[in-house]
């Protein structure tokens, strides 16, 4: 199905120039591409920034996204991170309303998922969890029975597996 909506994770290596993030996000907004998440941070080489974008669209659109992003002057490299050959992680912070009676239940679930309790207040807990999206979704589902006060998610960061695909720049 060529026209079916798909999701792709793009790893974009850009020159660390001022305004580069707005050039990338501007391109997405003016061409009507959908961004599900975007993360950015410097790479091992401080001249460059790694931007990880999760975009969705049909194959033609995703192909155009890759080409249009490559065309931006500041972009050094664009690559799709294929799920089979990559590791994805997202960090999520959840603030849950928790009375003294509810606390043990929440902590038990958190333990199973290796989530951390990072803050405790008389009436709430803050939980930090890192994982791939399936794990995060599953964890959120288990918290369904509780009152979630706030959520903050970082969006996906990812790297390809092994050392074959590492990019070195002169």
């Amino acid at each position: 199905m060529k026209n079916a909506m798909q999701k792709k994770v793009f790893q974009i290596i850009v020159d660390n120039t001022s305004g580069v993030l707005s050039r990338i996000s501007g391109l997405f907004s003016r061409r009507g591409y959908n961004i599900e998440s975007i993360t950015a941070g410097t790479t091992a080489d401080p001249r460059f920034t790694r931007i990880t974008i999760v975009a969705c669209g049909d194959l033609d659109i995703l192909d155009q996204i890759e080409k249009q992003v490559s065309k931006l002057i500041d972009v050094r490299n664009v690559r799709e991170l294929v799920p089979e050959d990559s590791v994805f992680r997202e960090l999520i912070m959840i603030k849950v309303a928790a009375s003294a009676e509810q606390r043990p239940g929440i902590i038990a679930v958190s333990d199973i998922f290796r989530a951390k309790i990072v803050d405790v207040a008389p009436d709430s807990l803050m939980i930090e969890l890192t994982g791939n999206q399936t794990k995060i979704e599953a964890f959120l589902k288990l918290l369904d029975g509780y009152e979630i006060l706030e959520i903050a998610r970082t969006g996906i960061a990812g790297l390809s597996r092994g050392s074959d695909n590492v990019l070195y720049f002169d």
Binding site: V14, D15, S18, G19, S22, R23, G26, R30, D60, D63, Q64, K67, Q68, S70, K71, I73, D74, V75, R76, F169
Partner: protein, 537 residues
């Protein structure tokens, strides 16, 4: 050496001979420094036209056009001109003054975030924050504007940077851009495939776009088409790739083009799109051009390939370089019967114009005008009905045909003609409607001040004709906002600028009047009173 001196020195290093611009406080240091050079400065009457003039200059000279404006409103006024150049891939370097860098972001007088505002219309932009970056940034800007898919580059220079002292001026010999490396050479395997398909094809056709002209490959295209006998049609931006009377040229395609050109493309079994975007006005149904035919798409911008239609053979590279590589191949083909068929289509084409006999026919005026123009003259069409008549009836001999194709910016013709004249010194004719004329008529003063001879033809029908035509068809003649009742008296207007004026209002003696209009190398205005209800086709 001040930053402003360095900016001017960079222009000299790039061989810039003319800048089009408009001053203001924030760009004064630059305009002060430039007086020490012999770079020609053309003072336009509104900034938008500085960009259009630079565009006309670039298109005929093949070099980068330069326009300069001040901060705030000066810079924002440039945007339409920049966007027009971007849509047609015209290489420009646009320089704007900016408020002191310490004041950036504080909304001081005449501050505008121009790099942010122009972001989607520029190939790249710079906001200079260190005076020592000036040589590198200028070098990069000219390089980016003029390579790969060409386009406008903006350089925003705060006043304090212009007034700062540069420690050591050294203009770089080469650019060192880690991230920008446009593809020049076409892939050898893909080129081989092109010839394989060509030797199989019975009815091949080339659809040439503006990219052919921009890469300077006009002559090579002609050579290639003639060598194998392949017919050629063009997009609007491609008009001028071949002379109109070339035996292999079959007109402009698209909804405003020639029916036999569209038919030729539809009936072909191999379509070579060269330097064309498969844009909506040229190809309204992109999926049809891959039906029953092989599509080969050649473009320097990989993004254009597959954007509107997926070709069977994509070929990315500079068109001139690709034609050069084509010469390594040789095939034996005979498309004569196909060309004969197309000639039959062309010969049987009837122009069905419904003309009021009391008025001169604009089609005839355009045709006669182009016949009487110099062999290598530049014809600049504006936007509106005049553009349709120009595209369909202008005869290209060996000159240029310029128009705002992608953006369709009204008011383009006069400033672009001005720039073209400065850029090539050949005869230049701007053809506009009464609507588009009034969008740029302030430039008559520029033309007078700098003694730039431009022949201006105004089709006066008292309407915004193309919109009126659209309302006629789609809104049952319920005309809204298209009546130009406040039109000035063009004869008096010409007199006010001390410009010779002529008028054609009758169908008779058109040629004689046009000859008189073109007889000397001086600016003149020719007003043509045409039927207000005349359609573009």
């Amino acid at each position: 050496m001040l930053g402003a001196d360095a900016m001017v020195k960079c222009l000299q290093e790039e061989g810039v001979k003319t800048v089009f611009g408009y001053p203001g406080v924030a760009i004064c240091p630059f305009f002060e420094s430039i007086t020490a050079t012999n770079i020609k400065r053309v003072l336009v009457r509104t900034e938008q036209n500085a960009a259009h003039a630079a565009s006309g200059y670039a298109r005929v000279s093949g070099s980068v056009g330069v326009c300069v404006a001040t901060s705030g409103p000066g810079a924002t006024n440039l945007i339409t001109g920049i966007a027009t150049a971007y849509a047609d891939s015209i290489p420009l370097v646009c320089i704007t003054g900016q408020v002191d860098s310490s004041l950036l972001g504080s909304d001081v007088f005449q501050e505008a975030d121009i790099t942010g505002a122009a972001e989607s219309f520029v190939k790249y932009s710079y906001l200079i924050k260190d005076v020592n970056d000036i040589p590198r940034i200028f070098k990069e800007a000219f390089y980016i504007a003029s390579t790969g898919r060409k386009g406008p580059v903006l350089i925003d220079v705060p006043m304090d940077i212009q007034n700062d002292t540069i420690s050591r001026f050294k203009y770089p010999q080469e650019v060192n851009l880690r991230t920008y490396k446009p593809t020049v050479r076409g892939h050898a395997v893909q080129i081989k495939k092109v010839f394989k398909e060509l030797s199989r094809a019975k009815r091949p056709i080339i659809c040439a776009g503006g990219g052919v002209i921009l890469s300077g490959a006009k002559e090579q295209l002609k050579e290639f088409a003639h060598l194998y006998g392949i017919p050629v049609v063009s997009t609007m931006m491609g008009i001028g790739v071949l002379p109109s009377n070339d035996p292999y040229y079959f007109g402009m395609v698209g909804n405003n083009g020639k029916s036999y050109a569209n038919r030729a493309m539809n009936e072909s079994d191999l379509l070579l799109m060269i330097g064309a975007r498969v844009a909506d006005r040229a190809i309204s149904q992109p999926d049809l051009i891959t039906e029953n035919k092989v599509l080969i798409h050649i473009d320097v911008d990989p993004c254009e390939i597959g954007k509107n239609v997926g070709p069977h053979i994509p070929l990315v590279g500079d068109i001139a370089a690709i034609f050069e590589d084509f010469k390594q191949h040789d095939i034996n083909v005979d498309y004569r019967s196909w060309v004969n068929t197309l000639n039959d289509y062309k010969d049987s084409y009837q122009i069905n114009r419904n003309i009021d006999a009391d008025y001169p026919d604009p089609a005839k005026i355009v045709k006669t005008l182009s016949e009487e123009m110099d062999f290598n003259a530049v014809y600049v069409a504006d936007v509106g009905q005049n553009q349709m008549w120009s595209c369909n009836y202008h005869i290209v001999k060996n000159g240029n045909f310029l128009t705002s194709g992608g953006m369709g910016t009204m008011g383009y013709s006069i400033p672009a003609a001005m720039g073209a004249r400065v850029g090539c010194g050949r005869q230049v004719v701007a053809v506009c409607g009464d609507g588009s004329f009034q969008m740029s008529m302030m430039e008559l003063a520029t033309i007078r001040q700098h003694e730039i001879p431009v022949k201006i033809v105004i089709f006066n029908n008292g309407y915004l004709g193309l919109v009126r035509e659209y309302q006629d068809k789609l809104y049952k003649s319920n005309y809204s906002m298209v009546d130009l009742k406040g039109n000035p008296n063009y004869e008096k207007l010409a007199a006010a600028y001390d410009i010779p004026y002529m008028r054609i209002s009758k169908p008779e003696r058109i040629r004689e009047n046009i000859r008189k209009f073109l007889k000397d190398d001086q600016t003149a205005i020719l007003e043509c009173i045409i039927d207000p209800y005349c359609f573009a086709k």
